[in-house]
Amino acid sequence: MAEMWISMGPQHPMTHGLWTLKVKVDGETITDADPELGYLHRSVEKMGERRKYFMNTTLPDRLCYASSTTWTHCYVLTVEELMNVEIPERAKYVRTIMLELQRLASHLMWAGSYMPDLGHITGALYFWRDRELFLNLLEVPSGSRLLYNYIRIGGVKRDLPDGFVEKAERVMKLFEQRLDEYSDLFENSKIFRMRTEDVGKFTAAQAQNLGITGPNMRGCGTKFDLRRNDPYEIYEEIDWDIQTREAGPGYGDCFSRYMVRIDEMKESMRIIRDCFKKMPKGPTLASTIPVRAQGEAFRRTEDSRGEALMYIVGDGTDRPYRWKIKSPMFTTISAAPHYLKGYKVADIPAIMGSVDICIGETDK
């Protein structure tokens, strides 16, 4: 049969944000693909060069609306490395708690948007209902529901209020019960497994070479998590394990990526509980924070979607000379032709949904 190019997007239920996936099909089989980006490009890097270091904390919040705290945190961590700022012990714990709450909310956002991709509207409502619980928790110290601007250079905006620990414990207990329900609803569902198993496979070696990181890489068995392999904040002292899927059936496919995220949510709650136990009292913001910076620094963190890296060059003024953002999704989307080839057109929503695309951070 003759081959032809089909354009999916920028307005398509599969895309989750504005981008175009051009696929070359032979009948129903995908033979090539060409993703196109740029619809959401806001030149965040250039904007950052015009504003002062402390003003910029609001910008990375807007990189990804589903996981905004992790991006602000990556920026703040880099600036602190550049300026040699030491932050108080308690602030590290508060940051870790907020990061893990954000990871839970982000993974739930993903799960909720992945289910309609597979025709499972009920799943969307269930997962988004639970995301609401964690958004309420994030709202308590930060005051907002989506873009928090909570993590500041030198610490956090304010301490966790009274009663936060009890409220968080209540939410996590409820959510754990619901996770058990969901394993019956999704993991044991034949239709869900038929759509996701043995679809969109890639190997660990492919993922590493193509720049696919985070839960997608751990889904193919690579035991690599920057919270353990390049520790920041307090992760070194916390008791937790890296979640991977071992080789075997369901290895490196859409279902394994789903399972890794579900297991990571359980692990995040374990981290939060351990933080509550070990958290010391004290201030949450450093007393003196420099304004100017000279030199260069980079830090990488484990974002909800993979390896986030920021590289900042300071020229001695109060604004960055160059601010470079590495988005994990940018390279994951670039690798789309490799994991789409050979599958059917009907598998595209299942595959592209499973890698957890966020166009805000990709287009910068």
Partner: protein, 159 residues
């Protein structure tokens, strides 16, 4: 291999200068543009840096600077007995009149779009790249906006 050994072996390579350790798990060095491709091939094949994290282009006026970050994921290089993963930060300097360098997208698939982005926003030409098109800005856009000498048409307010 221990990270100290890595630094010694890398600094003995042709074209390498200013090798130093900027953190416990990060080696930083400069490489001459002409021997860069040979060096990157060695970095991937002999030292096991299987992941290209980032390619940054900086306009230092007048010359350009490229910063490569490579990660060793499977721990072929170690830091003592810790779980730390080792990174190499490579700096390459390019002259303003000839901002070209050999592409590494045949070595690391993940470098492909990083190079396209550096071309798009900073105007660095990667020789041997399979598909050097703009990636974030539309086709037909004039100039490279992250260069410091790029002139904006709109009025800019000073913050």
């Amino acid at each position: 291999m221990e990270i100290k050994e890595l630094m010694q072996e890398l600094s003995a390579f042709k074209g390498v200068s200013n090798a130093s350790m900027i953190r416990d798990n990060v080696v930083k060095l400069d490489i001459d543009k002409n021997s860069s491709k040979e060096f990157f091939t060695k970095l991937r094949d002999d030292f096991g840096f299987e992941h290209c994290s980032l390619i940054t282009a900086i306009d230092n006026q007048p010359e350009f600077e490229l910063v490569y970050h490579f990660t060793s994921i499977n721990k072929s290089v170690t830091v003592g007995s810790t779980d730390m993963s080792v990174m190499t930060e490579v700096h390459v300097f390019l002259e303003r009149d000839t901002p070209t360098i050999e592409s590494i997208s045949d070595l690391w698939g993940g470098a492909n779009w990083h190079e396209r982005e550096a071309f798009d926003l900073m105007g660095i030409y990667f020789v041997g790249h399979p598909d050097l098109r703009r990636v974030l800005l539309p086709e037909g856009f004039a100039g490279h906006p992250l260069r410091k000498d790029y002139v904006y048409e709109i009025h800019e307010e000073e913050w």
